[in-house]
């Protein structure tokens, strides 16, 4: 089973791009599974189900979404494998820019859009900087020059990645992206694998439900600003 982690800022077009790739993979007769991770609510699982792919959704609720991801992804991979998926795609939004779901030796994809501003690539951490493939979306809305400037900013922070422009609405570039998916990591289990980068730590009183503001309520892993 080929497995990929796809992540990217909210509303960057992850689901649209994945849907276009699913169409291309289905045209090649492939069986696909998707695991959608979100926080409070998502209807994207219905969009996937409509395409006839196997889908699971995981809502992290009151937990940190990427910590939730990493504690569940191994069983998701097993689920995909047991259900005979030839491709399994995990989709998760990078809500905090320091977090990343990418796993060593597993094809990592980051989706980022042209409209997010040229300062955005450097603000995103390992989710973008350690991805193997970076997909830039919404290229039809901006000029060629802006696309080039944006791509050069992405290239600056992840010079080793394959950078592609894909349009999630028209599907431009999706066919080409699919041929990269065909070379994605082929695995049966995530046993023994490691994240590409550590996740941000918390473990303070606020993790445990504290809501009151003030020194006296702060315990655990606390760091102070240098004002």
């Amino acid at each position: 089973m080929r497995f990929l982690t796809i992540s990217g800022p909210p509303s960057s077009g992850k689901t649209s791009v994945i849907l276009r790739v699913i169409e291309a993979l289905q045209a090649r007769g492939k069986k696909i599974g998707v695991v959608k991770f979100d926080c409070l609510l998502t209807d994207d699982d219905k969009l996937y189900a409509k395409k006839g792919v196997l889908v699971q959704k995981g809502l992290s609720g009151a937990l940190c979404p990427d910590h939730y991801f990493v504690s569940n992804i191994e069983s998701c991979v097993t689920w995909g494998h047991e259900n005979g998926c030839e491709y399994l795609i995990s989709e998760s939004a990078g809500l905090c820019n320091r977090c990343s779901p990418h796993i060593k030796e597993i094809t990592a994809v980051c989706v980022i859009d042209n409209l997010s501003g040229i300062g955005t690539p450097k603000k995103i951490g390992p989710m973008l900087k350690s991805a193997d493939i970076v997909i830039i979306t919404k290229g039809d809305i901006v000029s060629q020059a802006e696309r080039e400037v944006f791509a050069s900013r992405v290239k600056q922070v992840n010079p080793g990645a394959i950078i592609m422009n894909v349009n999630g609405i028209t599907g431009q570039g999706a066919f080409e992206l699919t041929s990269l998916f065909e070379e994605a990591s082929d695995i049966e289990t995530l046993k023994g694998k490691e994240l590409r980068f550590s996740m941000p730590a918390a473990l303070c009183s606020y993790c445990l439900g504290e809501t009151r503001i003030g020194e006296e309520h702060q315990t655990g892993n606390i760091r102070k600003m240098d004002l």
Binding site: Q144, V149, P159, F197
Partner: protein
């Protein structure tokens, strides 16, 4: 390290884009990298090993940008098949300075043809077309490298989202392409754009306030002067606020292969050939004939007339008497 940063300013850009603080001093770049605090790197979300790898990849890419681009003397499209599986049976070679129009109704397969070219298809797309560069199966770099983009695309929608003036915007683009004399190139582009645009604009006009015609003029001048891509792909040039003939001539002069999706009769006749797309395949190729070119003269007259009328509307005039326009 101070010397390196002066000679290669992009190294500082690289380091600061990872959130690192660069203090130019006598230390070597090597010792700067050796002495980075691992805890600080952990906060920034990068490991030392990964930073070094990215730095190597980055330098390699930067050196590749300064390399001269491989010259594309010919682009060959070897036909595949249309949606019903009938062979296209063509082999078409395009040369720099040629203008080729692509015509056909929506959904006929124009975008697929353009995508096949951009992807330098090797029988691995639904049409099974093959694309050769200079008569040979091209290197994979044309597919994936951002430095070797085969096609620069001028789309019909041309919005800007950056909050910059025309001059700042073009300078930023020039800097990202590491051109040798950015100041001069920027001035050249702005001047050229003003020659193409119906209404002039100042270098400090915000790009977001440019008119449609001014934006198109700016992007065409930018594409002609700054872009290294040998193919210019144009999705219709609307007939407003821009001298379309001058715009095409500019791209032709810069030795681009110009592919233009258009149904505008004047633009179509400015082309050397028209590819007619039908049912996903290239149905036929029409060479612009002598008779057609003769008709171009009267079409241009008609066009000038319409433009004059348009100007009347703009200036608050009436169209009650249009004789002799």
């Amino acid at each position: 390290m101070s010397d390196i940063l002066v000679d290669h300013p992009y190294i500082e850009d690289f380091l600061t884009s990872f959130g690192l603080i660069v203090k130019p001093g006598a230390d070597s770049l090597q010792s700067y990298l050796d002495n980075l605090d691992p805890d600080k790197l952990e906060d920034l979300g990068i490991s030392e090993e990964q930073l070094r790898q990215s730095f190597d990849d980055f330098l390699e890419g930067m050196l590749a940008i300064s390399d001269p681009m491989d010259k594309v003397e010919a682009l060959t499209v070897i036909g595949g098949h249309d949606k019903s599986g009938s062979a296209e049976g063509i082999e078409l070679t395009l040369k720099p300075g040629e203008v080729i129009c692509i015509v056909g109704p929506t959904g006929s397969g124009k975008s697929r043809l353009l995508a096949d070219i951009e992807w330098v298809a090797q029988g691995d797309t639904p049409t099974k077309r093959k694309i050769l560069i200079n008569g040979q199966v091209p290197d994979n770099k044309w597919r994936f490298s951002t430095e070797y983009k085969l096609v620069a695309q001028l789309s019909q929608n041309m919005n800007f989202v950056m909050d910059l003036s025309a001059e700042e915007f073009i300078r930023m683009h020039a800097e990202s392409r590491l051109v040798t004399d950015p100041q001069k190139k920027v001035a050249q582009i702005l001047q050229q754009a003003n020659e193409l645009a119906g209404e002039r604009f100042d270098p400090d006009t915000p790009v977001t306030s440019l008119s449609g015609g001014q934006s198109r003029a700016l992007m065409i001048a930018d594409m002609a002067i700054l872009s290294k891509s040998p193919i210019a792909l144009i999705d219709e040039i609307e007939n407003a606020g821009i001298d379309r003939k001058k715009a095409l001539d500019l791209l032709v002069k810069e030795e681009k292969i110009i592919l233009m999706a258009t149904h505008d009769p004047i633009l179509a006749l400015m082309g050397d050939r028209r590819l007619v797309i039908k049912n996903g395949g290239i149905d036929k190729i029409i060479e612009s004939s002598e008779a057609e070119r003769k008709n171009l003269v009267s079409l241009e007259k008609l066009d000038t007339k319409l433009l004059a009328l348009r100007n009347r509307i703009r200036t608050g005039d009436t169209l009650e008497n249009i004789e002799g326009v």
